[in-house]
């Protein structure tokens, strides 16, 4: 059997497009779910977490945020991504647009496109950054 990096035992799994909630174990390998089954052996797992029957949701995707709009982006990203982790959010869509929106600064479409990389290395969620170029 392939060794797993992590097994989360005994959680009640909530999934989209599923009417019911199933009691399952979750096996993780290389950052992805590798095994989702009612009983996963922990013999080959590097780490085991007891889920104690808690509800397991897919890490939440916050679909609309504006990070860096009222505080410097690199600082805002730190506090907002900590708050997100506390709420179960693991992915954010952080929108940018041209105009004087971010701390009353603005720039060209190309300048705005580059903004999403600010704060790299300090951010705790994965993110997607759509850019609105208003001409």
């Amino acid at each position: 059997m392939t060794s797993l990096d992590l097994v989360v035992k005994n959680v009640r799994v909530v999934r989209p497009r599923q009417a019911g909630i199933e009691r399952l174990d979750l096996g993780v390998k290389d950052g992805r779910f590798a095994l989702v089954a009612p009983e996963i052996s922990t013999g080959h797992a590097r780490e085991v977490v007891d889920g104690r029957g808690l509800l397991a949701f897919p890490g939440l995707v916050d679909a609309h945020t504006h990070v860096g709009i009222y505080a410097p982006l690199a600082d805002d990203a730190v506090t907002e991504s900590k708050a997100a982790a506390k709420g179960g959010v693991t992915t954010m869509l952080t929108y940018f647009r041209t105009g004087q929106y971010y701390l009353n600064r603005g720039g060209s479409c190309a300048w705005t496109r580059g903004r999403h990389l600010a704060g790299e290395g300090r951010i705790r969620w994965d993110r997607i950054s759509p850019v609105g170029c208003v001409l």
Partner: protein
């Protein structure tokens, strides 16, 4: 999330990139707990009661819920299999990655 309605769409789909799944650069898939998806997870205790305190927020310094007792709380959060939050504590180094969208150039 709409009760009884159509579930919100997931980002990406493992079935569309099964051939490249093991590659380090394979595109991520978010929003479901299923084989091939990123191991992003929120563990919630729906019965846990707690009093919300603004001072405990890493972000906002004010909340309309200050001092109120609420029910249901996230106990732990995992990002790509790494524990990043557990019972009030932020854990480990920042691991967030920018997710590139195929075909958009950004």
């Amino acid at each position: 999330m709409k009760a009884g309605g159509e579930a919100s769409p997931s980002i990406g789909s493992p079935s569309s990139r099964r051939g490249t799944r093991r590659g380090a650069s394979a595109s991520p898939a978010k929003g479901d707990i299923a084989v091939g998806y990123d191991a992003d997870l929120a563990l919630l205790d729906p019965t846990r009661r707690f009093v919300l305190r603004e001072a405990e927020s890493p972000s906002s310094r004010y909340s309309p819920f200050e001092g109120q007792e609420l029910t249901g709380q996230v106990e732990a959060t995992f990002l790509r299999g790494h524990l990043i939050y557990e019972r009030g504590a932020i854990i480990g180094p920042p691991r967030g990655r920018y997710v590139r969208r195929p075909g958009t150039g950004s």
